[in-house]
Symmetry: C2
Subunit: 433 residues, 2 copies
């Protein structure tokens, strides 16, 4: 499949590169050219073998092409519990609404329920998700069948999965197909015994692999770990050797200076989930402090029972908005930094080193943003527009690995949306009866 985009504004996200007008050429799953019209002509002249036969040529009409957003933390199949468990205290939410239903979900349920989330990612211009849920094989099947890029980690804990399964996921999901990969991780310190974590540390060493977990999402979790081990979760996990090859944490709200020292030393990522942290009243992450400390931040939606919206535009606004509120200073966390978190940093955190920039040789994970809608007008500053006034409704197209999976409200994911909804309704009826 060869696609030529022309008459586009192009935001490559490469450091220091300004938005320009030009063309993007895609061949199979890669970008083979991104430049001005002038550069396109030069390219043709110097590459006599240049591809001039296109399967499709798309007039972008001045709309914006940019790298897709990376959803750096989610639990997709929790679409099942969306709007079923809101406005409750956190412990009630988990204990009475989430855990009992999860106990009844099958791998097949999870396969089907994940698809609703995948569709929602596409509508919000996301091209990859950093996923954690109960049945990694059926999750991987769901993402593969929809043609959506998925990096999984496990939710190993004392009650489900195991170190043996973790190693199996790692070996079997990496390289299984072009859409899926797997990174080592556990659910969280508070759901894992010390022995279990020590076994995970051995695995991390064996594979020289980065390691991930929910870390310091709530004050309670942080304090209880301190009571248990005399250390915060970051200190404790690091003391076991889990971060020798990097990795990071999801949520990462309640960190102190010592935690941030560890994060810097180990090159760990902080994945922030402001929608979930707001709705579940978990707190506001110290994003401005992370920037000052040089700790890279990526952005995730968390699962649809926690947020409940899987929308990178909402998350981007919240990242900077909450940072401003936290310090009562409207100058905190510039929009440009936020956009980098939602794209480049997400890709790097997830190990997708070829999905960071819109540039020659990179994966064709590209979105088109409608600049002809009123929320993008006047076109004073496109980066600020994206972060502050952008919306799902601006996403005209989402391309993953060179294939357009969403375009003007229509999905190309190998299944009919209404059938996906009907299947979810059927599962919901069964599990909630």
């Amino acid at each position: 499949m060869r696609t030529r985009f022309f008459n586009a504004r192009i935001l490559t996200m490469e450091p220091g590169k300004e938005i320009f007008t030009g063309e993007v050429w895609v061949k199979e799953d890669r970008i083979i050219f991104a430049g001005t019209e002038e550069e396109a002509r030069t390219y043709c002249d110097s590459h006599q073998d240049a591809i001039l036969v296109w399967d499709r040529e798309i007039d972008c009409k001045g709309n914006l092409l940019m790298p897709g957003f990376k959803n750096a933390h989610t639990h997709s199949a929790m679409t099942l519990m969306r709007s079923k468990a809101d406005d409750l205290p956190l412990q009630d939410w988990l204990g009475t609404q989430i855990f009992p239903i999860e106990a009844k979900m099958t791998a097949d349920d999870i396969y089907h329920l994940s698809k609703i989330a995948i569709m929602e990612y596409l509508t919000s211009g996301m091209t990859a998700a950093f996923e954690m849920y109960l049945t990694p094989f059926s999750v991987a099947d769901s993402f593969r069948d929809c043609g959506f890029r998925c990096v999984q980690t496990s939710c190993v804990n004392n009650f489900s999965q195991s170190v043996e399964l973790l190693e199996r996921y790692y070996n079997e999901l990496n390289g299984r197909d072009e859409y899926n990969s797997f990174i080592l991780g556990v659910h969280a310190e508070y759901t894992c015994s010390k022995e279990l974590l020590e076994q995970c540390a051995e695995l991390a060493r064996k594979y020289k692999a980065p390691f991930w977990a929910h870390i310091q999402e709530t004050e309670k979790e942080t304090k209880e770990c301190q009571e248990r081990y005399g250390m915060t979760p970051f200190e404790f996990l690091d003391s076991l050797g889990l971060f020798e090859y990097g990795g990071g944490g999801y949520h990462v709200i309640w960190t102190n200076e010592k935690d941030r020292e560890i994060m810097k030393k180990r090159g760990l990522y902080a994945v922030t989930n402001p929608g979930s942290n707001t709705k579940l009243a978990s707190g506001i992450a110290p994003i401005d402090q992370y920037l000052k400390d040089g700790i890279p931040v990526a952005i995730g939606t968390d699962g649809p029972a926690s947020n409940n919206c899987l929308d990178m535009f909402r998350e981007m606004f919240l990242v900077t908005g909450l940072a401003k509120l936290k310090d009562m200073d409207a100058s905190k966390v510039d929009a440009g930094e936020v956009l980098k978190m939602a794209t480049v940093n997400g890709a790097h955190a997830m190990g997708l080193k070829d999905a960071d920039y819109l540039a020659e040789g990179k994966l064709a994970d590209i979105i088109m943003i409608d600049m002809h809608q009123p929320n993008m007008q006047p076109v004073n500053n496109i980066v600020k527009n994206l972060v502050y006034s952008g919306s799902k409704s601006n996403v005209l197209m989402t391309m993953i690995g060179g294939i357009i999976r969403y375009e003007k409200g229509q999905f190309n994911i190998g299944a009919d949306p209404e059938e996906i909804y009907a299947k979810a309704a059927e599962i919901s009826k069964r599990l909630y009866s």
Copy 2:
């Protein structure tokens, strides 16, 4: 114009009424029927003169009809400064970016710039705006020409407009056309002399009219008033007799118990603007406390230079989300309360008593929400879906006074969107040169 909607889910927003499936009939600017199919048949049998000839019949395909959102505080023409003045401390924002540009704007500029905001309101399912800006006549023209319902208040202060103009606006804009009305108000305590406010109080008494202003948006504003008069803005304005016939305040963040006593006693509305308050780091309004005190809350976007998004879905999420964060309690401010704020309370605050419910005899200010998008699936709880996972992208149609002004991405506002954008770009170029 007679329109019949059928096969719809219907949320009337009437107290205690559940969502049902049925039909809505519109004749001219009013709803003449809203009920189940069964009730529709009975209605036809008992009304021999029932309208059975429709200009248009719309199969809603199970999508949701509900009253349009009411944007209870905005400054529409500030689209000009959108994305021009972000990530700055508040005083720099006002002093170097907003005031100098406003000083150069003409009434005609404001007419054109307002239209971009009106378009954005339509995309977000809003059917009315509570507007405050520099040139009420040209603002009213803009809203009338687009066919969008507008309630204006003035921004009288020591430097612009006057009490004489305020009275003229009141007399000339009320009843001028079917889209515009006007309510007494000033910019804020801190921009008005005591004499000016006393003259306004005379007007409020003369017309037995409610009174509005920006009130206690920042801690600084509140403290400085206390230093000036030994009273908070609420206390001070009330002491001058401005609230004898009700009204309310915009933002209303930094209130104490005594302020809330005044609000209760005078039946004042609190219009909350969480997007703006977040981005400008003004603080978090005590919404849960207002609910406990029985103070009615409505929701506004504030202007597009402050927010920068004119999106009721973002605001609704923030109203409840920030209330949860403020008290670190995920059970605070139920989604149902938020939806009431965004519709019914907004209408009542703005004096639009016929725009509150989707019911017989009410204004046909109706929106259609797409339930076939993934963020609304599974359909576990529609009210929670709207507040937590809803998005602009779900707005299929916005009807005001029986006329569809926005449908599936297309506008019907008497002007071409691209011409509106070109005009705004031209104004921007002139004013920023």
